[in-house]
Assembly symmetry: none
Homo-oligomer: 402 residues x 2
């Protein structure tokens, strides 16, 4: 059994190298027609192509062949954490997504406002998709709920979605969803699946009872269901396992949250790629490792917008010189998964990846795209090994064994 981190703890070496890991979310794609070009191959990317010529390419498998990952496992893999070992529950991801600073004792829950009739049966699992203004107001009311011995936080996400966090020592998180996934029935009462979670289920029941009182005149949002009840996984810190001081430069909260989960410092990244580049330049001397996240290749893919994704890739390409002119020891460009516009969803296709460093073994890649990556020196590899390549090419790993 390969434990990457027991290896990196032993082999880590300090030097002055700098590593940039630039993640273009959902980067991998598919052609629209047989034998056509993918989004990345269609895009005009002179900077990426020049890097491919100076570096090596390959295809990254986020979890296992064919498996389409969510953002959580996709990023954990790139950070070198086995996504099958460290699972991130929906409640935790949702809390990370609104920049909520989850502690190790916190139980996070994704809530959905719903509508119940006078029998208590659900008539609408999304409360008529109430507007965000309404949802925010209701969350403020619920945030006043008090349960003895437990700190309660209620935060609005968007429309009918919210996050509930219970903070207290020794709360388990093995509690089933209360959302029955259908209408015409009552919500499922919170049920614990182990002894350690009985108190948590009890806290959930108390919360829901108070919420029912508070919301009784707020139809269509006169109740809520709970899903993805979870605690953050016990995950070793990036600096401890790799010996690098790492910083995250991400516009969207969920990716800041994922970075925080592995112990990266989260920098003020602004709202645009230009802001992110300025942030990178400003903090260049302070860290060894920079995670730069670019969201829009995923969102355009999810929208089924092939041309839009091409355009976003070109936007990213234009920003690349700002990163490379800092002369990072290692520069990596990859994605956390594929999001082919044709499929309008995350997919299990392997992800084009490039790595540039002084000591990489040039592989004849003359551009950056799926077809070229297929023949690259990095081969087809599980994404959890990418950090080893990053550290190795930065001279940050000792020889293994004598």
């Amino acid at each position: 059994m390969t434990d990457i981190h027991s290896l990196t703890r032993k082999l880590q070496r300090q030097n002055d190298s700098k590593i940039i890991l630039c993640v273009s979310d959902g980067l991998g794609g598919l052609p629209l027609e047989p034998l056509g070009k993918t989004e990345l191959e269609t895009a005009h990317t002179p900077n990426m192509d020049a890097l491919a010529q100076r570096g090596v390419t390959g295809l990254s498998v986020p979890v296992l062949p064919g498996i389409a990952p969510g953002s959580g496992p996709g990023h954990l893999g790139l950070f070198g954490y086995d996504p099958l070992k460290y699972e991130i529950g929906r409640g935790v991801l949702e809390a990370l997504g609104i920049d909520f600073d989850l502690g190790p004792d916190d139980v996070a829950i994704r809530g959905n406002f719903c509508t119940v009739d006078t029998n208590g049966w659900i008539t609408d699992r999304r409360a008529g998709r109430i507007g965000s203004d309404v949802g925010a107001e209701l969350c403020e009311k619920l945030d006043r709920i008090a349960i003895p011995g437990v700190e309660v936080f209620v935060r609005h996400v968007r429309e009918y979605r919210l996050v509930i966090v219970f903070r207290a020592a020794d709360l388990g998180s093995e509690v089933d969803d209360t959302d029955p996934q259908q209408t015409g029935v009552a919500p499922v009462p919170p049920r614990a699946n182990n002894e350690a979670s009985r108190r948590t289920a009890d806290v959930c029941r108390k919360f829901l009872a108070q919420a029912a009182d508070i919301l009784q005149n707020d139809a269509p949002a006169n109740l809520l269901t709970m899903r993805g009840i979870a605690k953050r996984p016990a995950i070793p810190a990036f600096e401890e396992v790799y010996g690098t001081r790492a910083a995250a430069i991400a516009v969207y909260p969920m990716y800041r949250g994922l970075a925080r989960l592995v112990g990266m410092e989260v920098l003020e990244a602004g709202n645009s790629l230009a802001d992110q580049m300025a942030c990178l330049v400003m903090h260049w001397d302070e860290y060894d490792f920079f995670f730069v996240h670019f969201k829009y290749t995923d969102s355009t893919g999810e929208d089924g917008n092939f041309e839009g994704k091409v355009k976003r890739i070109e936007d990213l390409d234009a920003a690349i010189p700002r990163m490379t002119e800092l002369n990072p020891t290692v520069f990596i460009l990859t994605g956390d998964h594929s999001t082919p516009a044709r499929m309008r969803s995350h997919s299990g296709h392997p992800v084009p990846t490039l790595l540039v460093a002084e000591n990489c073994r040039f592989d004849g890649s003359n551009a950056f795209g799926e077809s070229i990556c297929r023949a690259g020196e990095l081969g087809q590899f599980e994404s959890k090994y990418l950090m080893l390549q990053a550290l190795a090419h930065a001279g940050r790993l000792e020889k293994y064994g004598a």
Copy 2:
């Protein structure tokens, strides 16, 4: 630790897709001369080549690099069962090979008729390779052996080979072979290697004592040895782990048995590829997944018959349109291992594989053969992951993680 099935249980999704897994036994080969073409590359295969153009290719590693698998592990891998985790004993495989319907309590044993002299020492470990008619008659006699508390089945395989099955609750199978692997010595008495197998060893001794009486006048086959004493592995059912109703269409009993072992329905497949295709068409609406087995690429390889194997590949190629005109969502063509005619045996060379589906990322493969597969999008992969690709391309897997 990656447990494929704990993942597929969680992610499985139902839809109307259909998957065909066509296994050409021992498909992979070797050229006769350096820089020559393999059997598959020599064959004229317009249908396979057209599929390669519409799909993706790769090389499947049945167990681990270099390891030549038997039929059991070869097929288990293709069915997504780690062949290093699930071991199929020789006795079990032999029983499957004669269509014996092994139950979970059955201990199966491969028997060899042998010749012993008046001292009880073995003079011929294969009883002069008696004819199948003689062997069958002796097995009928032995089938009458009665042992209290145990059901006994004796079935003829071929020539000097037979299968013995003991059926009773709580029989262990850790009993050593009795074949001493040499002549001039007595057979080894059955010896249990754990407490749970002591009764089994005792049953073996009783069986052998009665057999010695029955066969005393049947020289050269006046005794038998026992090998590969085993029970079928506890293996989760295909439908449970993948959520697909699966059917096997195989002419040879061993492959039907392997399919039955993982819980596939075994259909009446007839005696020829034409019969198998008719069977597939007839049952098309009843199942989600079809395993179609073609034996003759292996048997010609084992015979060292390069031209014969080429011809058999061409026979299979001609049958392919019958499968593809059914419009399967995913069509896979692969082998359970390589059987190069040049080696006259199974080998550890990776196996050419092609997968065709609407959402596959075309990889420029323009024909089906080992050299082209080497550069294909599927890469070089452990065969146990092929089912993930099949399910993913059929839209039968949810996203992993949030």
